[in-house]
């Protein structure tokens, strides 16, 4: 039982979720639920920090690893959850009933993601993934209008197919290696003769199916089809959550599987790194070019998040590429995720605050927002600048950092594709900036927002700028979090 402390963050969050459902039955002031939910996230984060300096450990029959890599992602997920809850403050009025359930499901999904990022056994990974996914299926369709229901159904069906594919891949890997624990798989593969994945087709197919399954989660091309519809239909806070927390967890678990189980020998990681590199090139190009055509801001950010997944995969490919990987290469992915999470959340929260008031997600309807809501427009501008990758924001440093790792590993061609893609992305990110500051507003009404929304936006924007100007400490944090992967 002394191992309980290792999952204290998850357990505490789970307890708060259950408490919220209970309390919901008795109180009429639903604002208290949001406060309770944020408190839950903070308590959970406290437990994570307690574990941060402790010994790395494997718990529960080697199914859960307690290491800084997992803890880093838990903090990221908790931060995203708390910010999304703050941002939902004005939004939840759209579903007067079920507010408690909304928060509780969000937290349950966070529990799933937190387990996912520290799981080191294929079965645990699958269970954690489903825990988070099922909550998200419900949350996506929470608005219960036509678009939201369609989004929920689409997400459910495609998500289940992806889970099935993933499970099939895991089954093949289990069949080949006789193990479900990641380190055992690695040990078995090390003992195998061979110099190429092609000599072990079953393992190759298993690996590809696993990449496919998680490719869905991180919205890599060609498994990105669900993104625009689901992003558009889902309640905006959930869209924000999907675009950051679930993506971050997806990247965490895919890097853990690839680097732990398939990290050695060299031919193996070089092979999957090349698959990822090619996928990265296609993903960012497709994401960026389709984003250019969007008129709905949620859809636009949906495609943009596909493109951003492409940049992240550059980091993943770089991790797999080299035989000697230094700290900068390993931590590039983590640092990019940190900056992307804050930036994208900031953007989404500003959009929630604005579009909730004007009842529209059309980019054209944001015209003149610089006059109607100057501070929100400034915040959204900062986030767009950061997403484009311009100073003085986290976005630029993240790009320099992740690309420098890739250049180091000889992926110069991929970096050139990536930087050209950044230029394309300027078109649609700056379109938002342009309409906000240059057009005449449709009405003179001021757009106001509540203080929790303010708090969330301010937290995001300030951190984006601070990371952009003084990234040193944050890079050091991600370096220590990624130290366990030394191929």
């Amino acid at each position: 039982m002394d191992q309980i402390k290792y999952i204290a963050p998850e357990l505490s969050l789970l307890c708060f979720a259950l408490i919220i459902i209970m309390v919901d039955l008795f109180i009429s002031n639903k604002k208290a639920l949001a406060i309770l939910a944020v408190a839950g996230a903070l308590v959970s984060a406290f437990f994570v920090l307690m574990l941060w300096n402790g010994q790395a450990a494997e718990a529960f029959y080697r199914t859960i690893a307690i290491d800084q890599f997992g803890l880093f992602f838990k903090l990221l997920i908790l931060a995203a959850t708390a910010l999304v809850i703050l941002a939902s403050n004005g939004y939840v009025a759209k579903f007067e009933r079920f507010q408690g359930e909304f928060y509780a499901l969000l937290m349950l999904s966070a529990v799933g993601l937190m387990l996912l990022v520290s799981a080191i056994n294929l079965i645990t990974i699958f269970v954690a993934l489903e825990l988070s996914s099922i909550s998200l299926y419900v949350l996506v369709s929470f608005l219960k209008d036509k678009k939201s229901s369609e989004a929920g159904l689409k997400y459910l069906i495609l998500g289940s197919v992806a889970s099935a594919i993933l499970l099939y891949g895991m089954a093949l890997v289990f069949g080949m290696t006789g193990n479900t624990c990641l380190t055992c798989i690695a040990d078995y593969i090390k003992g195998m003769p061979g110099t190429s994945l092609l000599q072990t087709p079953a393992l190759l197919v298993g690996l590809i199916l696993i990449i496919t399954g998680f490719g869905f989660k991180i919205a890599s091309v060609p498994f990105q089809m669900w993104v625009p519809d689901v992003y558009e239909g889902a309640p905006t806070p959930i869209t924000a959550y999907l675009s950051v927390a679930s993506k971050a967890a997806g990247f965490a678990v895919i890097s853990r599987i690839l680097l732990t189980a398939f990290g050695v020998p060299e031919w193996l990681h070089n092979d999957w790194a090349m698959i990822i590199a090619v996928l990265a090139a296609v993903t960012m190009t497709v994401g960026n070019i389709t984003a250019l055509l969007q008129t709905n801001i949620k859809r636009m950010l949906g495609y943009s998040s596909i493109a951003q997944a492409g940049y992240l995969m550059v980091g993943l490919a770089a991790m797999g590429m080299g035989s000697q990987v230094d700290g900068n290469v390993r931590s590039g992915l983590l640092f990019f995720l940190l900056s992307y999470t804050l930036t994208n959340l900031g953007a989404f929260i500003a959009i929630i605050a604005i579009s909730n008031k004007i009842n529209s997600d059309q980019i054209d309807d944001f015209t003149g927002m610089g006059k109607r809501a100057p501070l929100l427009a400034v915040a959204l501008t900062i986030c767009m600048v950061s997403l484009t990758g311009l100073p003085p924001t986290a976005g630029l440093i993240a790009k320099i950092y992740i690309f420098s790792g890739a250049v180091d590993q000889g992926l110069l061609w991929l970096v050139i594709i990536a930087v050209i893609n950044s230029c394309i992305s300027a078109f649609y990110y700056f379109k938002v900036v342009k309409v906000m500051w240059m057009g005449e507003p449709a009405s003179a009404d001021k757009v106001t927002s509540s203080w929790p929304e303010w708090l969330a936006i301010a937290l995001c924007c300030i951190s984006v700028v601070v990371i952009g100007v003084l990234p040193g400490a944050f890079i050091a944090l991600t370096q220590s979090a990624s130290a366990l992967f030394g191929i």
């Binding site: 700290g327 900068n328 931590s331 600048v385 311009l390 100073p391 003085p392 630029l396 440093i397 320099i400 950092y401 690309f403 420098s404 250049v407 180091d408 000889g410 110069l412 970096v415 050139i416 930087v419 050209i420 950044s422 230029c423 300027a426 078109f427 700056f430 342009k434 500051w437 240059m438 003084l470 990234p471 040193g472 890079i475 050091a476 370096q479």
Partner: protein
């Protein structure tokens, strides 16, 4: 080096302090905003003059960075907050701080949202100063990219005509250039494992990592777009024509110089052999730029567009001087950057004045203005004459040194031919400048301009200060060339000149 009060940091960030003050004042009056902006720009200018006076001109300081500040910034990638100036960058720093003051004065009558406007102007100033002072490649790149944001807003909100189109074109062109530059910078890092620009100059870069030629061209694309080198110049007329006056002044005066500065500082200093190898190619582009730019300028009927195209031509001289790769020609190129900055800055300011008074920039609608605006016509003429290189003005000194150096250069075969063709540009320049002055000021007076006034006090202050610089440095160019050659000497040594 005893006296180090972090002067460079103050110079670079004083405008930012100014913009923060402006941003923090709720609902400031127009006047307050202007005076704060002026104070910030002025303080920065005064400090840069102080640095110029304190600059160590002794023999031992040749090739040394001065006023250096170095603080660890991003330890993980070995990147430092590293500032410093040498003879190459100091004149450009002064040029920018000077233009910073003038651009605030030029914008004195801005009506549309002055608070936001001056915030962008000040941010623009900081970013350009940062580029000239940075000695760390990542810091350099950060400031280089930062400049895009204020410029985008200045053109697209306070501009005229097809302002949004011009702003986008500017944004995308520059981003594409800097994208390649970033790839180049990262390659340099993984070959040499340092971002330190002082250490990089003179290192023998050799690698199997990437062909040096490819590295050279990755780096130079961004600079070539900025300079602008034919055929990458097409963003410039649009941006210039549609930008507000102050932005045009800064754009032509200082921003373009980031390109030339980068070429000398990075491409030539780090890869001298490749620079020598591809010099004929770059020189050909330079000569095309000079002649083509001048030829297109003659045909312009929009005053601003005319000055913009003349910049393409004059930046060709800079490119010529750089890739003649001779000690004297490189000094000339740097000097020409300064000279063009002042002259074209003034020309744009004058066009802005004429436009303010007459509400047109169309040469076909302007005529005989000399009667109405005696001061403006004199200043405009001085600027024009300096632009065509009249002796006694800074334009003459700069062009003369550039051409003399290029003609005599032995680094590249056929240098006299390139130079002789480029010199023809001066002839064409005289043509369009004089013709322009004649059409605007000395033609048949039009009745509709009977009521227009001359420059007012603020406008006189800003324009006369330009004239003072043009004349002073023109009469005694050594005040700058002495400093410049201190920065150029070690670079010329690398090429073996």
């Amino acid at each position: 080096m005893a006296l180090n009060l972090n002067l460079l940091s103050w110079i670079v960030f004083l405008p930012v302090i100014g913009l923060i003050v402006i941003a923090l004042i709720p609902r400031p009056g127009q006047k307050t905003v202007k005076w704060i902006a002026l104070a910030a720009a002025m303080a920065s200018f005064i400090l840069s003059i102080a640095v110029f006076i304190m600059f160590d001109r002794s023999e031992s300081a040749i090739g040394q960075m001065q006023f250096v500040e170095k603080v660890s910034w991003i330890p993980a990638i070995n990147s430092f907050y590293h500032l410093g100036v040498d003879g190459l960058s100091l004149p450009l720093v002064i040029l920018m701080t000077f233009l910073g003051v003038v651009s605030v004065l030029v914008s004195w009558k801005i009506q549309l949202n002055p608070k936001q406007y001056f915030i962008w102007i000040l941010l623009l100033e900081t970013s350009i100063l940062g580029v000239f002072c940075s000695l760390d490649l990542i810091l350099f790149f950060l400031f280089w990219e930062l400049e895009l944001i204020p410029m985008f807003f200045l053109i697209s909100i306070w501009g005229s005509g097809r302002k949004e189109y011009a702003a986008y074109k500017y944004l995308i062109y520059t981003l594409v250039g800097s994208a390649f530059m970033l790839a180049g910078i990262l390659c340099v890092y993984f070959i040499t494992h340092t971002f330190d620009m002082t250490a990089l100059a003179g290192i023998q870069i050799a690698s199997s990592f990437i062909p040096l030629t490819a590295l050279f061209f990755l780096l130079i694309v961004g600079f070539a777009i900025k300079l602008p080198v034919f055929p990458l110049h097409t963003w410039l007329p649009d941006a210039h024509t549609n930008a507000p006056t102050a932005a045009s002044v800064i754009l032509a005066g200082a921003l373009l110089k980031m390109g030339g500065y980068g070429m000398i500082r990075l491409c030539v200093s780090m890869l001298p052999q490749v620079a020598v190898q591809y010099a004929p190619f770059m020189l050909t582009l330079a000569v095309i730029g000079v002649i083509y730019g001048a030829a297109v300028t003659i045909r312009q009927t929009d005053l601003k567009r005319l000055i913009a195209y003349s910049s393409v031509s004059h930046m060709g001289y800079v490119l010529l001087g750089i890739f003649a790769l001779d000690q004297v020609s490189l000094v000339g190129a740097s000097f020409q950057m300064f000279s063009h900055g002042v002259i074209t800055g003034l020309l744009f300011a004058m066009v802005g004045l004429v436009y303010d008074k007459t509400h047109t920039r169309d040469l076909n609608n302007l005529s005989g203005l000399a009667r109405q605006m005696p001061v403006i016509v004199v200043v405009f003429s001085i600027a024009g004459l300096a632009s065509l290189g009249l002796p006694g003005t800074v334009g003459f000194a700069a062009e003369f040194i550039t051409f003399a150096g290029s003609f005599a250069s032995t680094a590249v075969a056929g240098m006299p031919v390139f130079t002789l063709i480029a010199v023809l540009g001066i002839v064409v320049t005289s043509g369009y400048i004089l013709w322009m002055l004649q059409r605007v000021f000395y033609g048949y007076p039009l009745d509709k301009y009977n009521g227009v006034g001359d420059a007012d006090a603020v406008e006189m202050v800003s324009t006369f200060s330009f004239v003072a610089v043009i004349m002073a440095v023109g009469i005694y160019p050594a005040v700058l060339t002495n400093v410049i050659s201190m920065g150029i000497a070690p670079i010329a040594k690398l090429i073996g000149m």
